[in-house]
Symmetry: C2
DNA sequence: CGAAACTTCCAAAGCGCTTTGAACGCTCGG
DNA sequence: CCGAGCGTTCAAAGCGCTTTGGAAGTTTCG
């Protein structure tokens, strides 16, 4: 059943029926009720395609799914998506996943922005120089970002306090007596990796320690990379007594390296990992249970979707700039540094 | 620029331009070339919304994303989605994620099917009695399934050989001398869990062993659940010498339970896990490296998307019924059963 | 050479909705 | 008693595409 038929059934014009259904004020309460009741009764549902054509609004938000990158580094993506889904479901918004390879990610964004298949896009893991942000800004297409944009002015975003998290974690390790600390960070071009790097550095400076004791490595945060990196660090002469991990996956690799070298955690090696709360891989399920800096990526996804919807509803870009605190949770993978280094 | 303007620019009718662009035969090669060149030059892209309205085809495939379920049990979902994305990108199909909670999952499917926002849906993890399949069949809405439908007749699907995988894994353990084996399976209502159960049972029967030596547990396959289950089994009088795990996550929980009880893998306990190839958590990155039955969920995602597109193109439901073999890969988590049980 | 059969192109009618501009009936102040 | 003002409703014009049913122009063939 379509609008025309419904209108005919009610002996009303399409205009009135449409307005009644969409809550416009210029229709009397009485007829509105009649219309709503009839729509209910006939199971009328307006055609999204037609509405889209008529209004130019897609009633959908876009997420670019970079298959390569996500497959390797982002089991987080599901959690994040779950958050996005949560709020978009409330508003009846669809989520359009635009697949892409890293190479043509920018093309995907262009397509989304120009095609009108979505009203707004959510962009995650911003980079220090981010072509996607540049493109969307130029096209004047609405977007919000999850993570810290390199130049946050005029851009709505939500991020967690990566700086604070790693400063806190590093200070904590220093207080436990650790001096040589390895930081296994994400790739250098991500803003979050930069923030974490600064956080750790500041903690060293604050403790009056020379920052060459901080051994920092940037890489794609896979368990495999982390394993290699940890192995190398732990076999070197200047063996660290603690390792800061950018993610739970990194911790997995580090744990393996330690186990293979016969090092016991936390006796010989302390580990702190950042945990985005993947319910599938809870930090408590590792052995030993991991000390983490924790923040919910799902909640962040939900919030960023809210922002996206607000943006569609007319909110100014740059209206929201939230930085969520991160909590340090001490569990079993950290201990005082061993006596002799 | 829209079709009308483009046509005006070329001094041709919209009809001709539209046909030229869509490869219809009733337009001469010469004009087709001219049209294509002009479209290219002006950067013309037809409006998806308008096309959708006119044709009734959405040019999109739907995936219902059950946020609750996936968050806890399906980091696999990303991998799977990556596969789907891979092929749908080739055909320029969009992927519409329809969020839902377990409760109203069926509503989501109904909405997808009736709204015309997608042309076909992909359904995963079919259950023994599956309301979703029933609904879509009744609505005569095109769908394909990833996993084994309870009544496969007239339904296109692709599945991995869960039966064979667990038969093989179980036989392998029996050959190593294991007699008491615990199977930590998925929830009973999933067809894959049934298939795995049957596979293990057959292996016991084939070896002439009483099947009460097989201690089977159905549950949502989280690390936490697996941990509890393994802990209980390993502390019981009839302690198993081997545990079959439904997923890598399950193995994580089992490893923790073993570690806490001072059991060494594989000396005191052998572990075989099914591995859907999450690149984020490779079986090789565990310590010890896990013996697994392996199959690529990503490849399956890609294939099921192909089937979905074929379905849209007019292929009959039930035309495809593929069962992919699963390979047993022996690594470091299995060994001969300890001498005295 | 004229009818039949193609080939190539077009005008116009939708697809199902929103939204503009106008009309209709009423009330009300002057 | 009349026109202004208001609340309610409607007819019709899009939105940008596809597709039907011809209409020209070209070739084929008896």
């Amino acid at each position: 059943m379509n609008l025309k038929e419904l209108a005919a059934e009610l002996h009303l014009s399409q205009t009135t029926v449409s307005r009644a259904l969409n809550g416009y004020p210029e229709v009397s309460e009485k007829t509105r009720e009649i219309v709503l009741a009839a729509a209910q009764r006939f199971g009328y549902r307006p055609s999204p395609a037609a509405r889209r054509l008529a209004t130019g609004r897609a009633h959908a938000l876009g997420v670019v799914f970079n298959a390569e990158r996500n497959a390797f580094m982002d089991p987080l993506f599901v959690e994040y998506l779950a958050g996005v889904a949560e709020t978009s479901a409330k508003e009846g918004f669809d989520i359009l996943i635009s697949p892409s390879t890293p190479r043509d990610e920018i093309v995907s964004f262009g397509r989304l922005a120009r095609d009108g298949t979505v009203d707004v896009v959510i962009l995650s893991a911003p980079q220090v120089t981010d072509a996607r942000i540049a493109l969307l800004s130029e096209l004047k297409f609405p977007f919000v970002v999850h993570g810290r944009p390199p130049a946050p002015a005029g851009i709505s975003y939500i991020d967690i306090d990566n700086f604070g998290a790693f400063q806190q974690a590093t200070s904590f390790l220093i207080q436990l007596g650790h001096r040589r600390i390895t930081l296994i960070n994400g790739e250098e071009h991500f803003t979050f990796a930069q923030d974490r790097s600064r956080g750790a550095a500041i903690a060293f400076a604050a403790a009056g320690l020379p920052n060459d004791l901080l051994d920092e490595h940037f890489m794609s945060m896979t368990a495999e990379n982390a394993y290699r990196c940890a192995r190398q660090a732990l076999e070197s002469d200047a063996r660290p007594t603690a390792i800061l991990c950018g993610s739970i996956l990194v911790a997995l690799g580090v744990l393996r390296a330690a186990a293979e070298l016969g090092l016991e955690v936390p006796r010989d090696l302390s580990i702190v990992a950042h945990d985005d709360e993947m319910p599938a891989f809870p930090a408590e399920q590792f052995h030993p249970q991991l000390t983490t800096t924790r923040s919910s990526i799902r909640a962040a996804g939900a919030r960023v979707a809210e922002m996206a919807l607000a943006r569609v509803a007319g909110q100014k870009p740059g209206a929201v700039a939230e930085v969520w605190p991160v909590q340090l949770i001490v569990r079993g993978s950290t201990a005082a540094a061993p006596e002799k280094v």
